[in-house]
């Protein structure tokens, strides 16, 4: 099983600390194991839960962006499905 980090209990994304292949399980500690839907290079993010389009992406317990489409658990989260444009002042 591959390793990941969930930085804050509020986070809905986790960071993989090893390169992960699609279909592999990633252990985020405290019993949270997620199966990756994509191949994900360290230290990119994957969704820890299903995230609806328009919802906030939370990392470090803080808002880092929002989902630009529905993101299922295990999916790679990056610029193809996450932005922060609307959060700007």
């Amino acid at each position: 099983m591959k390793k990941g980090i969930r930085l804050n209990s509020k986070d809905n994304v986790g960071v993989v600390v090893q390169d992960v292949n699609a279909g592999e399980e990633v252990d985020f500690g405290n019993g949270l194991v997620v199966t990756a839907l994509d191949s994900i290079a360290l230290p990119h993010k994957l969704a820890l839960v299903d995230i609806e389009a328009g919802s906030y992406i939370i990392k470090y317990g803080e808002i880092m962006g929002y989902a630009t489409q529905d993101i299922p658990v295990g999916r790679h989260v990056h610029d193809h499905n996450c932005d922060s444009e609307k959060l700007m002042k």
């Binding site: 960071v15 360290l42 993010k45 962006g65 610029d79 996450c82």
Partner: protein, 395 residues
């Protein structure tokens, strides 16, 4: 773990303490750089400071002047040779007098090509002065100084998604230690704080300081929007995104860890002198590292702790830069031990080191560097130029 609260440094006439003892040759503007290089080539021990600007940009004159004076007044500098060409905006000899006055009598020699017989004669005069300065500098001995006399610059460059998890918290740990010992730490790179304004405002000493932090970050957000429009959320370098960073807010939430958990005491301009300020200070300045490091050095920082995830090699010609790599993969990819990096913060992830153990190791390393140990950029000669921040174009 109890650390030493003193180090051995170079005490300067103005009461500040250097951790290096350089003689520099610096141009009053970039047209003098060839002459500066010749002087440095002729006198071993003279560091050439290559000014990338200095003239023909009215919007920048005040900032550049403050920066040049601040760099020369930094306590890591024993003496300065200042080379002017004559037709530039500021008079090099007047600048020399300002440096002498502000530094309490630091040795300064200024010459001007168009007044002093041309470049070749200026080189001869400057070489003679530089030889004397180098001989005098060698007589200055290190003496005990308190950690409270340190001004730490925190910096990150070529960040990846590990930077905010490993290396930046380690820098924050050191920053908090310096602050708790009565010293000063500077957090800057303001566009890389977009999205953290509420966090920093809550940590500010007064509501007024908090408002200044917020308005500074908003000002940068507006400036960035003017440049990038809808792409403002991607105020990231290509390497940042390859390294797993998706939005500027995500990067900033990692960057802000460099400031540890200390109270924000004040906000200063780019290159504005720290003076008697203690604690965590925020300095206005760009995210572009080469420009930002010059501003922090001019403010009075003697050393840098610089995190990188991608393996950025940047050093500074006259200050130690401690490179903290965010991950083991990059650490070994850029040379491993005795390579480009000083400390592998990736050991938290790969070798079971705790964040506290890493922080403690960083403090000990910093003290060794203050006492004279060379950082990897110093050992490798990665000093570079004296790039100065500009927001307007030259005419």
């Amino acid at each position: 773990m109890a650390h030493a609260t003193t180090f051995m440094g170079y005490h300067r006439p103005d009461g500040r303490v250097g951790i290096r003892n350089y003689v520099i040759a610096v141009g009053n503007c970039s047209c003098a750089n060839g002459i500066v290089n010749q002087i440095a080539a002729r006198v071993p021990g003279v560091i050439p400071m290559i000014h990338t600007d200095g003239c023909s940009t009215p919007g920048e004159f005040d900032r550049w002047r403050e920066t040049l004076v601040g760099v020369c007044c930094n306590p890591n500098i024993y003496a300065a040779i200042l080379v002017g060409v004559g037709c530039e905006t500021d008079d090099a000899k007047e600048i020399g007098k300002r440096i002498e006055a502000e530094s309490g009598g630091k040795p300064v020699f200024a010459a001007i090509v168009q007044e002093d017989g041309g470049g070749l004669k200026v080189i001869e005069k400057c070489v003679k002065a530089a030889e004397q300065f180098v001989a005098d500098a060698e007589k200055v001995e290190r003496k005990e100084a308190p950690v409270s006399s340190l001004v730490l610059a925190t910096e990150c460059g070529g960040s990846d998604a590990f930077s905010g998890i490993t290396a930046n918290p380690a820098i924050g740990y050191v920053s908090d230690w310096i602050v708790s010992n009565g010293g000063t730490s500077i957090l800057s790179e303001i566009p890389e704080l977009i999205g953290t304004e509420e966090i920093l405002a809550k940590r500010s000493i007064t509501p007024e300081v908090g408002e200044r932090v917020k308005s500074l970050i908003y000002e940068w957000e507006e400036r960035t929007r003017t440049l990038l429009g809808a792409n403002t959320s991607r105020t990231l370098a290509r390497g940042n995104m390859v390294g797993g960073l998706t939005t500027i807010q995500e990067k900033a939430l990692g960057c802000v860890h460099k400031g540890g958990t200390s109270t924000v005491m004040d906000v200063i301009d780019y290159a504005e002198r720290v003076g008697q300020r203690k604690g965590l200070i925020i300095m206005d300045g760009p995210g572009y590292d080469t420009d930002n490091v010059t501003g922090i050095f001019a403010s009075g920082a003697q050393l840098f702790m610089f995190s990188t995830g991608r393996g950025n090699p940047l050093g500074y010609p006259v200050a130690p830069v401690i490179k903290i790599c965010s991950n083991s993969k990059t650490y070994y990819a850029v040379g491993g031990d005795e390579g480009d990096m000083d400390i592998n913060a990736g050991a938290i992830v790969t070798d079971g080191m705790t964040p506290e153990e890493l922080g403690e190791k960083c403090i000990e390393y910093l003290l060794d560097v203050c006492n004279g140990k060379q950082t990897r950029p110093e050992a490798n000669g990665y000093g570079g130029a004296m790039c100065v921040w500009s927001t307007t174009s030259p005419f």
